[in-house]
Amino acid sequence: MLNSLDPTVLARIQFAFTVSFHILFPAFTIGLASWLVVVEWRWLKTGNRLYYEIYRMWVKIFAVAFGMGVVSGVVLSYQFGTNWSAFSDKVGNVLGPLLGFEVLTAFFLEASFLGIMLFGWNRVSPKMHFASTVIVATGTLISAFWILSANSWMHTPTGFRVGDEGLFYPTSWLEIIFNPSFPYRLAHMTIAAYLTTAFVVGGVGAYYLYHKRHQAHARIMLGMAMIMAVFVAPTQLIVGDLHGLNTLQHQPAKVAAMEGLWETRKGAPLVLFGWPDDDAEKTRFAVEIPKLSSLILTHELDGEVKGLKEWPKEDRPPVGIVFWSFRVMVGIGVLMILTGLAAVYLFFKKQLFTTRWFQLWCMALTPSGFVAVLAGWIVTEVGRQPFIVYNAMYTADAISPVAGVQVGLSLLAFVLVYFAVFGAGAYYIGRLILKGPDESDRDGEDNKAYGSHGVSAPPLVSDLVSETGDEHV
C-alpha cells in the first residue's frame, strides 16, 4: 500500500505543494511592503489622512500574509533535509552559503522590524516607523535576491566542480551567485510580485468603488494599481521575453516544451494551442502561426529551433503541463497589459473611477497575479525535469533514504493543516477587505477610541515639531 509508493514521487508532490502555497505569500508581501513604503511616504509628505488610513488597513493584511509566509517558509528550510537529504549533502557546499546569507541579511531584518511596523506606532517617531517599513520592504527584496540566486543556480549551474563521492565544490562564488539565468529570474519574479500586489490592491479599490464605499481611499488604491498596470505590465512582457531567450540558450529542452515543438526545424511555427502527446511525440490539434516561433526565439524568420526529439526520451520534461502553464501565464500577462491600456483610455475620458464594467473587470482580475506566478513557476520547475541541478544531478538521485509511508503521511498532514490554517488566513484577509479602512477617528480628540483595539493615535505630521520628547523614542 503506502509502502509501495515511490518516495521520490511523493516527495516531489509534497515539495510542489508546500512551495506553491508558500510562494503565494511572498508574491503578495514583496509587492505590498514596497507599496506600503510609498503610501506611508505620501502620508508623511502630504499629511493627508487618507494615506494613513490606507496604510493601517493594508498593514493588517500584510501582517496576516507575512505571518503565513514565515511559517510556511520555515517548513521549506527543513524539507531540504527531511526529504532531499542526498541533494543537501551533495550541493551543500555551493547552495548552503546562499541560504545562510538569506537568513542573516533578510529574515532577521524583516522579522525584527516587522514588530516595530505593526506595534511601534506610539513607541517610535514617525520617521523611525517609516524607516522600519522601508527596512522590511528592503528585507523582502534581499530575500528574493538570495533565494532566486540559489534557485537559478539549480537551473543554470556555473562556478562549481564535482569532486569525490559526487560532492559539488565551489570554484567561483561570483559565477555561482550571478549565474546566467539569475538576473532575468530576479527581475521577472520581482516585477511579477509587484503586479500581483497591484492587481489585488486595484481589485479591492474597484470593489469599494462599485459598492460606493470608501470612495476616496478606493480612488487612490485603483489609481496607484493602474499606474503599475500601465507601466510595469508591458515591462514584464519585455523582461519575460529576455528571460525566455536566456532559457533558450541554457535550457533549450524547456523552451521546446513551452512551445510544444517536437522536431528541430528552420522557420518553426508558433503553436498557439494544441494537445502535446508525450507518447506519440507530437502536438495534436495544433493551431499554428507559421514561422513565428523562429522569429520570436531567434529574431529571424528561418532561424533554427530545436525540438524535443533532440533529447533522449528520459531526459525530456513532461510537455503538456509546461506547455499549458506557459499559456496561462502569458495569457494573464496579456490581460494585465490590456487592463493598463483600458485604464489609460478611461483616464483620458475622465471615467477611470466611474466605469462600472471596468470595476467588475478589475475585481475579476484580483487573483490573476497569483495564478500567473504559480503557472510561471510550474513552467520553469517542471521544465527543467528530470534534473534537480540542470545537467548535473537527477531529481531521482536527490531523495532522502526515507520510506514512502513517511513522506505520504507527512504530505497528508501538510495538506490538511495548510488548507485549514491558510484557509482561515484567507478568510481573515477577506474580512479585513470587507471592513475597509477605518475612518472613525477623523476629527475626534479621544485617542483611546482610535482604531478597533484602543491604540492611541500616532502624532500627525503637523504636531511633530513640538513632540520630540521621550514618548516617541
Binding site: V59, K60, A63, V64, G67, V70, V71, G73, V74, V75, S77, Y78, F80, G81, T82, S85, A86, S88, D89, V91, G92, V94, G96, P97, L99, G100, F101, V103, L104, T105, F108, A111, S112, F113, L114, G115, I116, F119, G120, W121, E165, P170, T171, S172, W173, S400, P401, V402, A403, V405, Q406, A413, V417, V421, G425, Y428, R431, G451, H453, V455
Partner: protein
C-alpha cells in the same frame, strides 16, 4: 579561492557558531513557546491579551533563529544536516506543523470574533506544546545517538522514539514553561504577574526534577557519557558546571519568593546555559552522535570561509537591531498594545 582555513580552525568556529545559534533559539523562542504552554491556564482573557502582546513583537524574530540553526547547519555541515533531518523526520515534521499552528494564531487571534478566538487560543497553546515536545524528543534522540550508513541515515522510521526521548520532551515543555513564566514576571503586572510567579514556583520544582533525572539517566544509559563525566580527572575538572547550575537554581528559588521582577528570567536562562554546555560536553566532538564528528561533516573550507567572513560582519548587526527591538518594546506590556 578565498580560504581562511590556513589561519584559523574554521570548522571549530562554525561548530561554536551553530551551537550558539541553536542556544539563542532555545532561549528566545523558548520563552514565547513557554508563554504558549501556560496560555490557557491564565486567570482571565485580559491576562491572555497581555501575555500575547508581551511576545507579539518578538516571536517572529525569535523563530528566525530556528531557521538560522537549520540553514546554518545546512550551510556549514551539510553532511550532518543530511543525516539528522531524515533521522528525526517525524518529530521535525510534527514540530513544523505545531509551529505553523501557533505562528498564525498571533495574527488570527487579534482578528477573530469572540467565539473563534477560542479556537486560536487553543491552536496557540497546543501548537506551542507540540513544537516544544518535538524539540525535546529530537534532543533526547540526538543524545542517544544516530545510526549512519555511508554518508546518510541508516536507521529506521521510529529510532527517535524511546523512553528517554519522551522524558526529554516532557522536560523541555516544563523548561520552556519556566522561561515563559519568568518572562511574564518581568513583563507583566498585577494579577498576571502574581499568577506567573505562582506558576514559576511549581515549574521550578518540575524542572529541577527533570534535570536531575536526565543527568542521572544519560550516564547510566550511555557509556561514552559516563566515561566522560566520571573518569579522572574529568570528574574534578567538570565539577564547577553542575555546581553553577545548582547555584542558579538556588538563586532562582529565592528570587521567585522574594519578589524580584527581572532576575528570575535571567536565572532561568542561566540554568538553560549550564545544561546546554553540559550537553555540548557530553556530545563533543560529535555532530551526529556517536558516528560523525563536526570535522568530518564540515562543508568545504572555501564554503565555510565565505560564510564566516559574511557572518563576522552580519551577526553583530543582527544582534544590535534585535537588541534595539527589545529596547523599543521595553517595560511592562499593557493589555492593548495591539495594532
Amino acid at each position: 579561492m578565498f580560504d581562511l582555513s590556513q589561519y584559523i580552525d574554521v570548522a571549530l568556529v562554525w561548530y561554536v557558531l551553530i551551537a550558539t545559534a541553536v542556544f539563542l533559539y532555545v532561549l528566545l523562542d523558548g520563552f514565547d513557546l513557554g508563554v504558549g504552554i501556560l496560555f490557557p491556564f491564565a486567570p482571565s482573557d485580559k491576562c491572555r491579551d497581555r501575555m500575547m502582546s508581551s511576545i507579539a513583537p518578538f516571536w517572529d524574530g525569535n523563530e528566525t533563529w530556528l531557521i538560522l540553526g537549520g540553514g546554518g547547519l545546512f550551510a556549514a555541515f551539510p553532511m550532518a544536516y543530511a543525516i539528522l533531518m531524515p533521522a528525526f523526520y517525524v518529530p521535525i515534521i510534527v514540530m513544523l506543523l505545531g509551529l505553523i499552528l501557533r505562528g498564525v494564531s498571533f495574527e488570527f487571534r487579534f482578528k477573530a470574533r469572540e467565539r473563534s478566538r477560542k479556537i486560536w487560543d487553543y491552536a496557540f497553546h497546543f501548537g506551542s506544546i507540540i513544537a516544544t515536545f518535538s524539540q525535546g524528543m529530537v534532543l533526547g534522540a540526538f543524545v542517544q545517538g544516530v545510526q549512519v550508513s555511508g554518508r546518510s541515515y541508516g536507521g529506521g522510521m521510529f529510532d527517535w522514539l524511546s523512553g528517554f526521548s519522551l522524558m526529554t520532551g516532557l522536560a523541555l515543555v516544563f523548561g520552556y514553561a519556566l522561561l515563559g513564566a519568568t518572562w511574564l514576571i518581568m513583563k507583566t503586572e498585577d494579577i498576571t504577574q502574581d499568577w506567573a510567579r505562582r506558576c514559576a514556583g511549581y515549574l521550578f520544582a518540575y524542572v529541577a526534577f527533570f534535570m536531575g533525572m536526565v543527568s542521572l539517566v544519560s550516564p547510566i544509559m550511555n557509556d561514552h557519557i559516563r566515561e566522560l563525566w566520571f573518569s579522572r580527572p574529568n570528574i574534578f575538572l567538570l565539577q564547577p558546571l553542575p555546581m553553577l547550575s545548582v547555584l542558579f537554581f538556588f538563586l532562582l528559588w529565592r528570587d521567585i519568593r522574594h519578589k524580584n521582577d527581572n532576575r528570575p528570567f535571567f536565572l532561568s536562562q542561566g540554568i538553560f546555559l549550564t545544561n546546554y554546555i553540559g550537553l555540548g560536553i557530553s556530545t563533543w566532538p560529535w555532530l551526529v552522535p556517536f558516528e560523525i564528528t563536526f570535522r568530518r561533516a564540515a562543508a568545504a573550507p572555501e564554503s565555510q570561509s565565505l560564510m564566516l567572513a559574511g557572518t563576522v560582519f552580519l551577526l553583530p548587526i543582527v544582534l544590535a537591531y534585535t537588541g534595539y527591538c527589545y529596547y523599543v518594546f521595553r517595560g511592562k506590556s499593557s493589555h492593548d498594545s495591539t495594532y
